[in-house]
Amino acid sequence: MAVRTHALDFEEFYRGSKDECLLTVLVSVGDKEMAQDLVAEAFARAWASWRTVSRHPAPIAWVVRTALNLNISRLRRRREISVPDPGRIERQIAIERVADSSVDPRIMAALLRLPARQRQVIALRLFLDLDTSHTAEALGIAPGTVQAHLGRAIAALRNDLVCERNQETPP
């Protein structure tokens, strides 16, 4: 009976949080297929340690942290650094948008132009709705640093999106 409850709890958690996790990790890694693989592996590890993860104050943050750590390990093994290409992700999402998604490619591209830490803070705070302390814990930084990154990220996004809007508007 305990096993069955364990399975049901995990399935509910997975279905309720997988899309937000994918979006959060995508913002960090800049490649949808890679993000999907990382998130799936992170959820598999969460299942394997579900007794511990389910008691975590923010299990969704545990999954995202694990996915990002897996990405770091992958890059170390490859001995090369992959820098997300805003143009590539914009094109990729623009194509997929027609088929099955309505993610705004301008916003995704603007997010990908932010420094990595700012992107992670934005994703954890806005996509996962984590509070400052859980975001700080997930990223291993101080709560004050989270607030500073969030403020800078919002200012940069505002400037970026306003510039794009002005460029689109005919004089």
Binding site: V3, H6, E11, D19, V39, A40, A48, V103, L126
Partner: protein
């Protein structure tokens, strides 16, 4: 555009990107991850115990060494149906496997090689000692199997390999495992048997029945 507009625009992207990996696929991968963790934990624990036992043997004076040559393993059946296996050396895995199967225990035994690829971990959460299998944590290893207490459809996996440990000479209690070669001149490398046991799904390919 003010800060609230930015926050709203970014937040609105939620749930617009769908993760398509089915939950069954994630759980299946999770089972493999958990099986790997269990085997590592078990092997790690037993390796430390085995290293301590071997180091004690190595460091004992010569006149304490046993003189009789014992078999690599012995299988005995108790009146209550319990099967006791005493393992002194990791030799003749096929012979041990045949004997246990003849005694009615669905078993897969591998010494010094990878586990049988046909074997699958027994599903669900199980505790080895509460599932009819007890393994002592000192050398020689004694495995007690209670066939009637094995879960339905379960078999016993028994795996052994050699690993390297090093002990500080003169201090057998400070024996520990390290993947590195010893740097201290007062350390001695010892080759230790590592034994693990677990439950697998009984099948003709894995456990013979």
């Amino acid at each position: 555009m003010n800060d609230d507009d930015v926050l709203t625009a970014v937040r609105d992207q939620r749930n617009k990107l769908l993760m398509t990996t089915p939950v069954e696929q994630v759980i299946s991968r999770g089972r493999a991850v958990r099986a790997r963790h269990r085997i590592r934990r078990l092997a790690g624990t037993l390796a430390v115990v085995a290293a301590a036992a071997v180091a004690l043997t190595v460091l004992l004076p010569a006149n304490h060494q046993p003189t009789a040559q014992l078999a690599a393993w012995t299988v005995t059946r108790q009146a209550n149906g319990t099967i006791n296996v005493t393992i002194r050396e990791l030799r003749d895995a096929a012979g041990l496997q045949s004997m246990l199967r003849a005694d009615g225990v669905p078993t897969s035994v591998t010494f010094g090689s990878e586990p049988n690829p046909s074997c699958r971990e027994y599903p669900g959460q199980w505790n080895l000692s509460q599932s009819g299998v007890q393994l002592s944590n000192s050398s020689p290893y004694i495995l007690a199997i209670h066939p009637s207490a094995l879960p339905r459809g379960a078999g016993v996996w028994l795996g052994g390999k050699f690993d390297f440990a090093y002990s500080t000479l003169g201090h057998p209690q400070i024996t520990y495992i390290s993947p590195r070669l010893p740097k201290s001149p007062v350390s001695k490398v010892v080759r230790v048997p590592v034994l693990g046991a677990g439950l697998v799904q009984a099948s003709p390919q894995c456990t013979g029945s």
